[in-house]
Symmetry: C2
Subunit: 145 residues, 2 copies
């Protein structure tokens, strides 16, 4: 764990709507209107790179990412799941776990590209309505470890 | 393993300059002039999502991604490493392992955004000159498993 800068947003707050927390990591829902169900899995300590973690720590973080992906697939049935650990702006380990749909605002491009369309509002509504079930499932899976 | 579509580019070819191959996966160098040292770690079988793999398979793939990240850091000393498994266009499991530098063409944005600048040519040259060392290190680490 490196010394966190005083302005690190992932040291100073949850980084989203808290879904589940363990002593090492947490899962949050990201407030991104185009992507209901977008989850971040955040390592609690201020660490920049995956290869800075020990092997058991890395395995536990990636297991949590996989549980989030599994919950997304079970609850939302997306066309694809996108996983990414970038951290160029906030070098505090966090994984983006993003449900992607063919009608979404950027498909098939990454969500960081220019917006291509308005998503289907009915599909967005179905995803939003499923968020409580998604949160419950992620929390349950993370508790089960 | 699902049935691959006949046009899957990662079933029909290496997907880059082959650096190392095991029975399950391979590492390739991506031909991307702005990003010398950009590696992809590709699962050989046609599988779409990480959560479709068994736990031991997933662990071996992520270990290879971590070896590639470690080699990148040792040889190129980037300011950040970006990891991503997207697969919206080619739903055949592959991990992007991307060395990022503050002067690169998109920093601090993801590499899929609009190009922001020309990278420092001296730094690009140093990265290009280090590619043989990078390839040798990735191949050695993957052999050691």
């Amino acid at each position: 764990m490196s010394t966190p800068p005083p302005d690190c947003p992932l040291c100073g707050g949850d980084g989203g709507v808290l879904v589940a927390r363990t002593p090492e990591l947490r899962a949050v829902l990201v407030d991104e209107p185009d992507y209901p169900g977008y989850v971040r899995v955040i390592w609690n300590a201020h660490v920049a790179e995956m290869s800075h973690l020990s092997e058991p720590e890395r395995a536990r973080l990636l297991a949590a990412v996989n549980l989030a992906e599994t919950a997304l697939r079970q609850v939302l049935a997306p066309d694809k799941v996108n996983l990414a650990s970038l951290g160029n702006q906030v070098p505090h380990l966090h994984w983006h776990v993003i449900p992607r749909f063919r009608d979404d605002a950027h498909f098939p491009q990454p969500i960081w590209t220019a917006r291509a369309r308005d998503p289907d509002p009915d599909r967005l509504l179905r995803c939003r309505q499923a968020l409580p079930a998604l949160q419950a499932r992620i929390a349950r899976l993370l508790r089960m470890g």
